[in-house]
Symmetry: C2
Subunit: 152 residues, 2 copies
Amino acid sequence: MPTHFKGTPQETSALDALIKLFRASNTVSGRLFGTLQKEHGLTESQLGVLEAIHFLGPMQQTGLCGKILRSGSNVTTVVDNLERNGLVRRERDASDRRVQVVHLTDAGKKLIARVFPDHVERVVDALSPLSRDEQKELGRLCRKLGLGNTQP
Amino acid sequence: MPTHFKGTPQETSALDALIKLFRASNTVSGRLFGTLQKEHGLTESQLGVLEAIHFLGPMQQTGLCGKILRSGSNVTTVVDNLERNGLVRRERDASDRRVQVVHLTDAGKKLIARVFPDHVERVVDALSPLSRDEQKELGRLCRKLGLGNTQP
DNA sequence: ATCCGATTGTTTCATGTCGAACTATACCCT
DNA sequence: AGGGTATAGTTCGACATGAAACAATCGGAT
């Protein structure tokens, strides 16, 4: 989308950086999760959910919202699909009957244990064009960007 | 998704950088296009299409694929919605009857002319946590990341 | 004990997104 | 010409995504 817009140097610089940020994010995401999709039928959000439960234990859906940074309604959908595929199961919390605790099934445990190492390897590969220092610098710049929070 | 995974320093570095990249991209994207959606009912892809035609003139859909970096079927959908909302119109190319040339309608021209400056302003604002040099460095790192291309 | 507001999750609706199968058209080659 | 291949778009099915409206439940205040 840089197209042929001519703005002030400030505007050009910001637009240029933004486009490269989006492009990098999209490209890497596509490479990473395209493979995951083809080889294991998992989407990015599905992996996020399985991964969170794998490392943190059974969680309620609100917790998953925080982990994968998606809306509540979206988490409902993603967990629905995982449940239909037999990878997770919901259980009502006895002490607070509003909450659904999401557990891995045995199939889910097996899948995430098998898939995650390969995924990490692909992440390392995707980031390999950058040195360790460059990765750190990229992280620092991205963190600064993410902060300018809109306070509601 | 960093959760509690402990890997080699290489793996930790890559995962950490990746998460920050995705988070920054998502956060900025959400802030930018959330506003655009609320105020003008436009999505990111719709803005991309209007912007491309605004600056480059009427284009065929394949050209739009390249500009907004989305699949052909997706461009069909996005242009469908824009057309339904009266912002663009399709015209068959006389010399190659497979081609649909997408034009801005008057309403589309008015909208993009009105919306784009505000959008640029928000982009500048979103990138303002970074100095000009930092924006340049972010761009450089992102470009390196985007290159590791899978050759089909 | 009761009521009100907050929290949790679901449903609905509109859009985006991709890949695969399909149609129509164009171009090339003999 | 005729046939084969390539390209432009569309359609379809599956999943993602968020906002808004809704239901169920909890908890605090009175």
